[in-house]
Structures are given as C-alpha cells and as structure tokens.
C-alpha cells in the first residue's frame, strides 16, 4: 500500500471513528450512569437522519433542519425516557433489552410507513459542498472534514463537561458508585433524564450529520448499534475517554486494517484463496479486535471504574 493511500485510509478511519464516537458517547453514558442497556440508541440515530430529511424538505435550509432535528431528537429522547425507560431503571438488563427491542421494531416500521421503504438522500448544504484535492485523482469532500471537526468538538465539549462541571462530576460518580449519588441526596431522576436526553441528542446528531454521506433507510441504525456496542465494550463501559479510544480504534481497524489485511493475504496466499478468505475475515475484523481486547482485558481498555 502506498503512503498516500495509507494516509487517505487513516483519514477515512478518523472520519468513521468520530461518527462512531458520537453514537457511542451517548450509549456509554446511559449505560455507565444508569446501568441501562438501550438497544433503541441505534434507532435514535436513524430518527435523526429522517428528521433532518423531513425538516429540510419543510424549511429548505440545512442549518435550520439540523437545529430543528436536534430539538426533535431531544424531545423524542425525553418522551421515551418518561414513558418507557424511567420505569425500567431498577429492572434487570433483559427487561431493558426486551423493551428497547420493541421500540426498535416500532420505529423502524413507522419510518417505513411514513417515508417508504426506499433509500432517501439529502444534499449537504451549498457552503459545505466543495471538495479538497488530495491526490491527483482523489478529492476529499469538505463535508467529511466538517464531520471530523464536529466529532472532535463534541468529544472535547463532552470531556470538559464530564471532568470539569458539577453535572459531570455526578455523571462520573454515577458511573462508578451509583448508590453514592442517591445517598448524597442528588435528584437522580433528573440526572438520569439529563443524561438520557443528551444521549438521545448525540445519537440524533450523528444521524443528522451522517445523512448526507450515507443515505437514509429504515433499519439503518441496527448495524451501527452493534458497532457502537463494540466500541464501548472495547473502550470500557461508562467512560468517555474509552468510547473515544474505542471509536478511533474501530474506525481505523475497519478501514486501514481491512486494506492491510487483504493486501497481506494476497501476498501470502494465491488469489483464489485470498479472495475467499479475505472479505469474510475483513468483516470479522472488528469482532476479532473486540474478542481479543476482552480476552486480555475483560473490562475494556479504559473502564470507568478505575484501575483497581
């Protein structure tokens, strides 16, 4: 692999990684603070994408659509929290899995009925539509640079919030010693609502910025949910730093690793074998990564509960 290609692949990995981070951050907070397994997190990503599509049709402005979508995603998150999740905090994980699985089925079907089963697309706004010449042949869309930037900004903001603010302190305390938080007389209900709302909004935001790149279809959140879980498991549940590290690792592994793996196999094996084995192995790559991390460090790389 040439150096140029390698660098471009790193850029792609970074871009994929930051998107994954946006989804994984909300997931890991909800999971870490409330011990809540929210399978519906992926479907909230899908909702974000459909929202930005609908609002752009309505308003004709991408920026307005983004703002409205975020607000709507937040609202949906709070509604779900109020009507469903709130009643499941104390319950075991499997009840949560069942309920949020039901929500996935419902929202996927609803999206299909409202917007049709086909794939929808949305154009990035004019001022982000250009591209940057990277190599002789390849231009890199400005919009993708913007998504990287947006992901990094959110990462920094989240990190500051979690480490420097009062809410952040409570979140960290909640992730490590949940009993203590309630013992301190903090309004846990409100804290959970805030965390959940922010989580839903982050997932929605990820859907919003992914929409112009990846196209919109029912069920688009299902596979990304699994990958987001892989990310937070690799990083260690409840940890923002872990989610960031995990997201970048998965992003890079899936792009750079995939290319390297297939090229490596081509060197070692004849084409007939490498063409058979390569793609299957490449699809497994992130799962192999996760399994390997868990075998060596069963609590993930940077667990919230500290080293001891």
């Amino acid at each position: 692999m040439s150096l140029t290609l390698f660098l471009i692949q790193c850029l792609n990995g970074l871009q994929y990684g930051t998107l994954l981070f946006l989804i994984a951050a909300g997931l890991t907070l909800v999971f870490g603070v409330m011990g809540f397994i929210n399978l519906a997190h992926g479907v909230q990503y899908m909702v974000g994408a459909y929202l930005v599509f609908a609002f752009q049709q309505l308003t004709g402005s991408f920026v307005a659509a983004v703002i409205l979508s975020m607000a709507a995603a937040l609202l949906l998150g709070l509604l779900l929290e109020h009507f469903v999740f709130r009643h499941l905090y104390g319950r075991d994980h499997l009840a949560q899995v069942l309920a949020t699985f039901g929500i996935i089925i419902f929202l996927n079907e609803l999206a299909k009925i409202l917007f049709g089963p086909g794939t929808l697309t949305i154009e990035p706004p004019e001022f982000l539509a250009g591209s940057v010449q990277l190599t002789e042949q390849l231009r890199y869309p400005v919009y993708r640079f913007v998504t990287i930037l947006a992901g990094l900004i959110v990462a920094v903001l989240l990190y500051i919030t979690v480490t420097r603010t009062r809410v952040g302190m409570l979140i960290r305390a909640g992730a490590t010693t949940p009993d203590m938080v309630s013992a301190l007389g903090i309004n846990v209900q409100k804290l959970f609502m805030i965390v959940f709302g922010v989580g839903a909004m982050l997932a929605g935001f990820a859907g919003v910025i992914a929409a112009p790149i990846f196209a919109i279809e029912p069920g688009m959140g299902d596979n990304i949910l699994i990958i987001a879980f892989v990310v937070i498991i690799i990083g260690g549940v409840g940890s923002i730093r872990g989610a960031f590290l995990g997201a970048l690792m998965v992003g890079l592994f899936d792009t750079v690793g995939r290319t390297l793996l297939i090229e490596g196999l081509e060197v070692v094996f004849p084409p007939s074998v490498s063409n058979q084995v390569g793609p299957a192995l490449a699809s497994m790559l992130v799962y192999i990564l996760m399994a390997a991390v868990l075998v060596v460090r069963p609590q993930g790389l940077l667990p919230a509960k500290g080293a001891a």
Binding site: S2, T4, L5, I8, Q9, N12, Q15, Y16, K112, G116, P117, G118, T119, L120, T121, S131, Q133, T135, Q137, L138, R139, Y140, P141, Y143, R144, I213, F214, A215, E217, P218, G219, N223, I224, T255, R258, T259, I262, N275, G278, P279, A280, A282, S283
Partner: protein, 393 residues
C-alpha cells in the same frame, strides 16, 4: 381480481369472520397465484415493483389472465430464508396455488425451491436467477423470466471490451451474487482486472474503496451494488470527484429503484441490462405509460419482468384453457413463451432461463425531472446463459 389477505390462525379460530368471508369469496375454479417477494426493510422497493408490475397486468385484463379469473396471494419473505420457506409452504399446502411467483433474491429462492417444486407446483422467478438451478439442477417446473445472474456482468465485460477499457477495478458486496458478477465479468472481459474489492453487505462508507480506486490506474469501475448500497456508492463516488477520471459501469446499481435517491449524481453512468423503460417497442411504451399513470413512479426492470411473468402465465392459460390438471400441457405452453414481451424478443432456453437481447444502458434525466435508464445500443442478441448445456432437459 380478488387480492386476499393472509390467514392462518385466524381461520381456525374463526374469530376473524372477515378473513373467512374473503377466503370463501375465492371461488374454487379460480387460478390461484402465490407470490413470495421481499416487502420489508430497504429491499421492499424491489418487491413492491414486482407486485405492482404483476398487478398492472391483472388490472388491465379485468382481473383475468388468459381469460381465467385469477386470485393473487402476496406474501412477504422479509428477506429471511426461514420466513420465505414458511410462506411458500403456506401457499402450496394451505392455499394450494397453481403457480408460485418469486423471489427477489437468490437466497430466499433457494429456501423455497424444493418445497414448491416437490408439491408439483410451477415456480416462476421474476428476478432471482441463480446459477444453482440453471445447470444440472435445472427443473421442469421451474422457470426464470428475468435473466441468469451472471449474464448482465458478462455483457458488462463485453461493453468494457467495446469501449476499450484496459484496466478495471471491480467492487462488489461479499455474497454469492457479488461473486457471480465478478465471475461473469471476468469471463468476457479481455483487459486486466487490477483489483477486486469485496465489501460487506449493506456497506455504508465507500471512502476506503474509493481511495483504493483513485490510486489504481484503472480506466473504469465495474460494480454491482443493489439498493441503498448503490445509492451511497454513487453519491460518494461523485463527491470524491472520481467521475471525471474513471468511468462508472455497473449492473443493478443505477436503475429505477435507486435513481430517485441518486438523482443527478448518476446521470451518464453506464450499465448493462435486457430492458430499459425507454425502449420503443409498442408493448413497452404501453406498459411504461400505464405503469406510471397507475403507480406514479418510473418502473424498473423488476416491474417489467414481473409484468412479463404475468403475461407469460396468461399466454399459457389461454393455450391450455386454464386446465391445471394437465401439467405437461401447461409446461409446454409455458416453454413456448408465446407472449408479447416488453423486452422484445424473448424465449426460453432448455433450462427454462430466458434467451434475450442485452443492451448498453445509460442513466438520463427526463424532461419532467424524473430519472431513468435509456437503452443506447444492443450489445448481444438472443443471448443464452452459460450453464444451460449442463441441464439435461
């Protein structure tokens, strides 16, 4: 025509009297046609075209095919083989249909093939055309009205030769149909395949593949990315600026099911196929205008093939007078393919896969702002698949 809703437990429980009423409304002497297509998830768009194409043919004849009243039972296979199997069994065992029309995808066809065939029911595929049943496992009760999966790719190879491409990169999803397309393309293409890239099914981000293409010295890309994958690939291909230096050629990637998503990004892209909505045969003009009028969207090859399937069945019913008792006569009538195909010339090979013309197609924007593919040039005529010689029929 009496479209009937599904019923199972409802029937037994007799709670849902409505269903039972509908059920008894289907008279015994009606010809029953069961349809198993994908109507859930993103590929539902393909299944819907098949349903609409068939329904159009029925509606145009007042609910009859070849003079016989037809009741059509549509089942959703959810793109899950086990669901497809159950639905197919329900059609042949409970509804005792005379024909099963299905499926969209090869894997669900594999699942329903044996139970349908073994119940001595005719199985007609309006889309999936796997090599599995084209060679030594061909079957007297199985017909394909679309194409054999490898054929479009083979024709794409011929197109590449004709256009003088020397170096081509192939990108396909990593599943059987993807590999079939690679095999088909390599069979006819005379230049060099500089790279074969297999992506996961349902791939989201093609930036990694596009980077690879940009650093290769390819003249053209050949790809097979049906559905949402095709929409994403085309949009991302255009955004990367590769469309200026590399020709985009494909099969089932820029068609009427994906163009509403791809829009301007796909205009000028090339593909290969046996049909395009702008083909100027009388039958086709009538079909396309009637279809657009009824359903409000441009039909794709899925709808056209399904429409042909309905007319094939009509021709056979007419010949046999609707007698389903004599399977051999019915089979012979189907084999004759004595109907007016929207594709022009159409006949069956010994393995019951079609023999037809293939064309170079190009995406264009119509004056009304909609997008469609146009047939630019006929590449091969009366083209049969390469497995039929292994079939002992």
């Amino acid at each position: 025509m009496k479209a009937r809703s599904k019923n199972t437990i409802a029937n037994l429980a007799t709670v849902l009297a409505l269903n039972t009423a509908l059920c008894s409304a289907a008279l015994a002497e009606d010809i029953k046609i069961g349809m198993v297509v994908t109507l859930s998830g993103p590929p539902a768009a393909l299944g819907q075209q098949i349903v609409d194409g068939f329904q159009l043919a029925l509606d145009q004849n007042g609910g009859k095919l070849g003079g016989e009243t037809v009741s059509l039972i549509v089942e959703d296979d959810e793109l899950k083989p086990d669901v497809a199997l159950l639905k197919a069994k329900s059609l042949v065992e409970r509804d005792e249909v005379d024909f099963v029309v299905g499926t969209v995808f090869s894997n669900t066809l594999q699942a329903i093939f044996k139970p349908v065939i073994q119940s001595d029911t005719f199985l007609i595929s309006p889309n999936a055309g796997p090599s599995t049943f084209a060679g030594k496992n061909c079957n007297p009760n199985f017909f394909v009205t679309s194409y054999q999966n490898n054929q479009n790719a083979e024709v794409s190879g011929l197109i590449a030769n004709e256009m003088g491409f020397e170096n081509v990169v192939i990108v396909v999803p990593n599943y059987q149909a993807g590999r079939d397309n690679v095999a088909g393309y390599k069979q006819t293409f005379k230049g060099t395949v500089v790279d074969e890239v297999f992506t996961p099914l349902g791939h989201q981000d093609f930036s990694s593949e596009l980077a690879k293409i940009s650093t290769s010295d390819a003249d053209a890309l050949f790809t097979f990315m049906p559905g949402g994958m095709g929409v994403r690939l085309v949009k991302q291909f255009e955004a990367s600026g590769l469309d200026e230096s590399i020709k985009f050629t494909s099969v089932f990637t820029t068609d009427e099911t994906t163009l509403p998503g791809q829009q301007d990004a796909a205009v000028g892209f090339l593909s290969a196929g046996s049909w395009a909505p702008d083909m100027k045969t009388e039958a086709n003009l009538a079909f396309v205008s009637a279809f657009e009028e009824t359903y409000g969207y441009v039909p794709g090859s899925f709808a056209a093939q399904s429409y042909d399937t309905a007319n094939l069945i009509a021709s056979a019913l007419e010949k046999t007078g609707g007698d389903m008792g004599d399977k051999d006569a019915m089979r012979a009538a189907l084999e004759a393919a004595d109907f007016n195909s929207v594709r022009g010339s159409f006949s069956f090979s010994n393995n019951h896969y079609p023999v037809q013309d293939f064309h170079l197609l190009e995406v264009a924007k119509r004056e009304d702002g909609k997008f469609w593919t146009t047939a630019k040039k006929t590449i091969v005529t009366d083209y049969a698949d390469s497995f039929h010689s292994e079939c002992k029929m």
